[in-house]
Each structure stands twice: as structure tokens, then as C-alpha cells.
């Protein structure tokens, strides 16, 4: 069993996101540790990009802060490698955009992920239609290619999304960018049920989830809950001192997710 699949065997998993290098490369390890200490089951580390066109204002600003502080791809991998050394069993996923990932070629990137102990990659702008640009290399290196499904992914298209998918399936619950509105609970429950009928992969739900109550609601129907922008907001607010507020916040999410009663209908 991989680190990623193990993380989804203990009940609903809490997946938390932070942008690497925000507000500085030096500040990131403590924030990652704080997420683990708060009870996060899967860590998503955002790779900064100048043009994050699927992200809302919070994560856009985090990308800008991180790049302004001078983050490099080599530093992103150093952060991952050091995290792996400190937390041998906590799954780590890189999330970002195609261009920084493909700059030195897909094989270079996949090998770097494997060597740094990265378990999976979410690439926002490489859909299944362009899988040979990245997914093939990732799978070849033993790194999960984590796919996104959205409200616009219909039944006809779903098999293509699932072909080659690994780790977990990330359900983007709203057609939109990160960090804004949340979808209605009923639509999330329906979508997760539909996805789970087609795949054995765990289904994690993200976009717009910020309160423990929202997280608990989603955890009733899904295998995982993804929280990103709310954490990034805390980093924006507290800067280099963000670790403790992030730990405290993640702990409230974690308690809510673990206390969630599984919906039988799901």
C-alpha cells in the first residue's frame, strides 16, 4: 500500500494546501510541520507560477509573494526532500501548473519528484488529452498522476479522466477558481456518488471549503476534504509566524472531519 492510499484508510482524510516559499522558503517547513501536527493526512505543496490562471485572489497573491521572495524549483524539491526526511509516512503531493513542471522535461520532473519522496502530482493545466506531456513520465517514475474531476466532467468523459489516474481523485466541487464560493452539499453528495461508482480511487473534494462545519459536511459524503485558500489566508495574515495559527486551524478542521458521521447514502 502506498503512503497516499494508506492515508485514506483511516476514515475521511484531511488534505491541506500551502504555497511553497510563502512568505519565504525558510518559513515553509514550520508551516508544513504545523499542518501535520494539526492532523492533516495529506500535504499539498503548491509550486509557485507567475500565471496561476485557475487560482483565486488568495493563492494568486501567495504565488506572487513566494516568487518575489525568490523561490526556485530546486528549493521546492529541497522543501519536499526535507519534509520526507522529517515525516517518513505522511503523503506529500505537489500541485501546480504545467510550465514550471515541464521546463526541464517531464522525465526530469518525474525523477526529481520520486527522488524527493513526492507521492503524487496535481497539474492544473494538463488534462487527460495531453497526458503524454506529463502523466506517462510520472507513472513511469512511480509517482501518482492525480486527476481532477469537475461539475463539467460528464459521464461520457469520466473514463478518460480516470485512465492513468492515481493516488486519489480530486473533485473540484465548483466550476470556478480556488477560494471563492462553496458548492451545495447535495450537489457534492451526488457528484461523489457518481464518481465512486466509476473508480476505486478515494475521492477528495475541494474548492471553497473553509470552516470546520463545511469540512465535516463534506467528510460525510467523501473520502477526503481539501482545504487550501483558508490556510493561505492565514499565511498572508501571519507571515513568518503563521505556523501556530495554521496548526490550530488545521486541528479544528481535523477534529471536524474525524467526527463526521459517514452518510449511508454515500
Amino acid at each position: 500500500m502506498t503512503r497516499l492510499s494508506a492515508a485514506f484508510t483511516r476514515g475521511p482524510a484531511l488534505v491541506t494546501f500551502v504555497t511553497a516559499g510563502d512568505p519565504s522558503v525558510a518559513a515553509t517547513p514550520a508551516i508544513l510541520d504545523a499542518m501535520v501536527a494539526g492532523g492533516a493526512d495529506v500535504i499539498e505543496l503548491g509550486m509557485p507560477f507567475t500565471d496561476p490562471m485557475a487560482d483565486g485572489p488568495a493563492i494568486q497573491a501567495a504565488n506572487i509573494r513566494s516568487l518575489a521572495a525568490g523561490i526556485t524549483t530546486a528549493q521546492v524539491f529541497a522543501l519536499a526532500r526535507d519534509f520526507r526526511a522529517r515525516h517518513p509516512s505522511v503523503p506529500l503531493v505537489l500541485m501546480g501548473y504545467a510550465n514550471p513542471m515541464l521546463r526541464r522535461g517531464p522525465d526530469w520532473f518525474a525523477t526529481a519528484c520520486a527522488e524527493a519522496g513526492v507521492d503524487g502530482v496535481i497539474c492544473v493545466d494538463v488534462p487527460p488529452e495531453e497526458d503524454d506531456a506529463l502523466g506517462v513520465a510520472l507513472r513511469g517514475a512511480g509517482v501518482a498522476s492525480i486527476r481532477l474531476a469537475t461539475p463539467t466532467t460528464d459521464a461520457r468523459r469520466l473514463p478518460a479522466v480516470l485512465a492513468g489516474a492515481g493516488g486519489f481523485l480530486y473533485y473540484v466541487s465548483v466550476a470556478g477558481i480556488t477560494g471563492l464560493q462553496q458548492a451545495a452539499q447535495a450537489s457534492i453528495a451526488d457528484a461523489v456518488a457518481r464518481l465512486k461508482a466509476s473508480t476505486d480511487l478515494p475521492v477528495a473534494v475541494g474548492f471553497g471549503i473553509r470552516t470546520p462545519a463545511q469540512a465535516a459536511e463534506v467528510a460525510r459524503v467523501a473520502d477526503g476534504v481539501v482545504v487550501g485558500s483558508a490556510i493561505v489566508d492565514l499565511v498572508a495574515q501571519h507571515g513568518a509566524a503563521a505556523a501556530e495559527p495554521v496548526r490550530a486551524y488545521v486541528a479544528t478542521l481535523s477534529a471536524a472531519v474525524r467526527g463526521a458521521t459517514k452518510d449511508q447514502a454515500a
Partner: protein
């Protein structure tokens, strides 16, 4: 390779021009992109679509645009050319279109597609404002609400076009993220689109973006080359020896080049913006970039070693973009088209040369093409013919030019 029989058979069914192009978009947009492709195929097969497009181009845009022999410019260049040298310079006068540039050709085509697809709201990005004005124009013509995304910096430096768009009923939304220029406007348009996929059509302004945009923009702009080819044959009984066009994203250039790609005797020259010089700030993605993925397609991009996109610079806001349409990337790789770059200063000189010799104030975009024409013409015999695309008029640029020349107006 399918290039053996024709250079005009691209892209493949996945939207790839060789190693370039493709559909690099978020999953939310993928079904919409596929739907757009289906709708475009259906439109291509429907004679009524072509008939409506042609009718609007003739009676609303004012096509065909003239093909013009620039006699005084030709003479001026011959004056400093070696004996017997100095090719004839001809222009395709797309600056005479309604709204003053070639952009309207594409906007007419795309809004007809949007209507076929039942979309009720239009969005677009714009840099200098020409595409925004053209989009606002067709939206007014068809009574559809439109939102134009424009970098906050461009809003400031292109106030006349901002006002034009508003007069035409568009909402102009300034984009403050990033450097506040065209690239950021495109990011924001994509963010809006992903949140409004069901009712919104995105009119992309250049032959770039995810498939099928590079193909359909090229097809709508190819009216330029089809007209020019027929006009040149009718007027001179021959094809031009060299085609020249300026390139930002590359829609006017691909529109001129594409109908000639299989004419082996016709050479082609695409002219990028070298800004302050290729060793300084510039916008020449082919000359100074490397392949990467941005805004839905794989193409040459200005970027650093980590794949972060770097800011472009050109005196021409319309060329101020760090990427280029994927078909140009492919045409460069296979060598069918030659690409060069021209600095701000050279473009300004060419701008003034055309004003004085022909009584035509060109936009700064085609001024780049004219700057590249001059040395070519002088190096070619007098019986040769160069055809350049005069893709926009310069009214919008007079403040920029005055500033660059140190004139207060």
C-alpha cells in the same frame, strides 16, 4: 510527416501543430473546448455560416480590403539601394477595415459561432485595446453583453480605446494582478470563463490558446491571404516573392501566410518585436524564448530557467505578449517561414517613413513589418515583389509615438 504534401493540413485531430499547440486547460474548461470544436466543425460544414460571415465582412467590415502598390515608398527605398535593386513594395490594406485593424475579421467569425452555440455573454482580453474594441463592436452589432479584461497598466496607457469600448456598451474590467498587461488580462479572462462556462463565450483575439482557437482564428483571418492572393494574380498575373507581417500572437501574419503556404515560390517573413533589443527587454518569443505551456497551448515563451514567464516589452502594446501562436512555432521549426525581429527604434523610423512617403499613418504593429521590408527590398532586384500586411492604422498610437519622439501634444 503530413507536411510532405501540404503545409496547410495542420493541426492534427488533437490540435497539435507538430510539437506545438494542444489543449492545456483546466478540466472544467475541457468539455467546453470540445464542444466548441464540435460547433466549429458543424459551422464549417454549413454553407449558411460562411454566407453570413462573408456578408458581414463585405457590408459591415468593408472587405475586400485594397491591395496597394506603394510606389513612393518603393522609390524611396530604391534611392538608397544598389543599382538595379529595390523590389516593389505592396500592401494589403487591412487598416481600412471597420475598427481600423484586422482584428474585426476574427471577431465576426467568433460571435457567429457564439450565437450558434446559444451563448448569451461574451468575454475577451485585450492589450492595446484593438481586439477589445473589435469585440465590443460585434457585441453591440449583435446585442450581446460583453466584458473586456484589460491590464490595469494598459487601461491607463490606452484611455481612448477604453472609452471606445465603453461607448460601444462593453464593461471594461481592469486587471491588477501580475504586471497588469495582456498576459494578466488573459489569465483573468480564463478565470471568468471557468466560473461561467454555461453561458459565456470567450473571443480570443489571436491565433493562440487551446485548440481549436489557433485553427479557427487562423481560418477567420485567412480572408486576408485569400483576397491578397487573388488580387495579386489579377493585378500582376503572378504571386508575390515575399510576404511580410508583424507578429505578436500572430493572427494577422498567419491570416496572410496560410493561403500561400503551399506556393513554394513564395517566401515568408514574420517580424517579432525586439523592443529595446534582443539582449534587453523585448517581446520576441521565437528569437528569445523556448518552448513551454501557457494559456492553453504549447509554444515558444519568454521564460526563465524555472519556467516562470517573463514580462515582454514592445513600444507596440499589440505585440507586448510573452508567447506566440503555435502554428508559427511549428512553421519556424520546419523552416517554412523565416522569422526576424525589429526594435522599437526601427519600428518608429518605419512608421515615419510610411507617413511621409505614402500618406498612411500605420499602427506600430505593422510598422515592425515595414521596418523589416526596407532592407529586404533593397537587397532584391527591381522585378521582385514584396507584399506586407498593413494590419492596423496608427490613430491609436499617435500619443505613444509623440512621447517616443519627445513631442508634447
Amino acid at each position: 510527416m503530413n507536411a510532405l504534401n501540404s503545409y496547410r493540413a495542420q493541426p492534427d485531430e488533437r490540435g497539435h501543430f507538430g510539437a506545438f499547440g494542444g489543449r492545456y486547460v483546466a478540466e472544467t474548461l475541457m468539455p467546453l473546448i470540445l464542444e466548441l470544436e464540435q460547433a466549429y466543425r458543424a459551422a464549417q460544414a454549413d454553407p449558411a455560416f460562411a454566407a453570413e460571415f462573408d456578408d458581414l465582412l463585405e457590408h459591415y467590415v468593408g472587405r475586400p480590403s485594397p491591395l496597394y502598390y506603394a510606389e513612393r515608398l518603393t522609390e524611396a527605398l530604391r534611392a538608397s539601394a544598389p543599382e538595379g535593386m529595390g523590389a516593389e513594395v505592396w500592401f494589403k490594406r487591412d487598416e481600412l477595415n471597420h475598427t481600423g485593424a484586422h482584428k474585426i475579421n476574427n471577431c465576426v467569425g467568433q460571435i457567429l459561432l457564439a450565437r450558434r452555440m446559444g451563448k448569451t455573454r461574451i468575454i475577451a482580453e485585450t492589450g492595446a485595446g484593438q481586439h477589445g474594441v473589435a469585440t465590443a463592436t460585434v457585441c453591440a452589432r449583435f446585442g450581446l453583453p460583453c466584458t473586456i479584461f484589460m491590464g490595469a497598466k494598459d487601461v491607463e496607457r490606452q484611455q481612448p480605446n477604453v472609452f471606445r469600448m465603453k461607448l460601444l456598451g462593453a464593461e471594461v474590467r481592469p486587471v491588477a494582478s501580475g504586471a497588469g498587461t495582456l498576459k494578466d488580462a488573459m489569465n483573468e479572462a480564463l478565470r471568468d470563463w471557468v466560473a461561467n462556462v454555461h453561458d459565456t463565450f470567450y473571443i480570443i483575439g489571436t491565433a493562440a490558446g487551446p485548440h481549436p482557437y489557433p485553427e479557427l482564428v487562423r481560418d477567420f483571418q485567412s480572408v486576408i491571404g485569400r483576397e491578397a492572393r487573388a488580387q495579386m494574380l489579377a493585378r500582376t498575373g503572378r504571386l508575390p516573392d515575399v510576404l511580410v507581417a508583424a507578429i505578436g500572437g500572430g493572427s494577422n501574419a498567419i491570416g496572410l501566410f496560410h493561403p500561400f503556404l503551399d506556393d513554394a515560390e513564395v517566401a515568408m517573413l514574420g517580424v517579432e518585436a525586439a523592443g529595446e533589443g534582443l539582449d534587453a527587454k523585448h517581446a520576441a518569443s521565437l528569437a528569445g524564448g523556448v518552448p513551454g505551456v501557457l494559456h492553453g497551448n504549447r509554444t515558444y515563451l519568454l521564460q526563465d530557467d524555472d519556467g516562470q514567464i517573463t514580462e515582454a516589452h514592445s513600444i507596440s502594446a499589440g505585440l507586448d505578449y510573452p508567447g506566440i501562436g503555435p502554428e508559427h512555432a511549428w512553421l519556424k521549426e520546419i523552416g517554412r517561414v523565416e522569422y526576424t525581429a525589429v526594435t522599437d527604434t526601427e519600428a518608429l523610423d518605419a512608421f515615419q517613413l510610411l507617413c511621409r512617403t505614402e500618406g498612411i499613418i500605420p499602427a506600430l504593429e505593422p510598422s515592425h513589418a515595414i521596418a523589416a521590408v526596407a532592407p529586404r527590398a533593397k537587397a532584391m532586384p527591381r522585378d521582385k515583389v514584396i507584399l506586407a500586411n498593413l494590419c492596423g492604422r496608427g490613430d491609436k498610437d499617435i500619443f505613444t509615438v509623440a512621447h517616443a519622439l519627445g513631442v508634447a501634444i
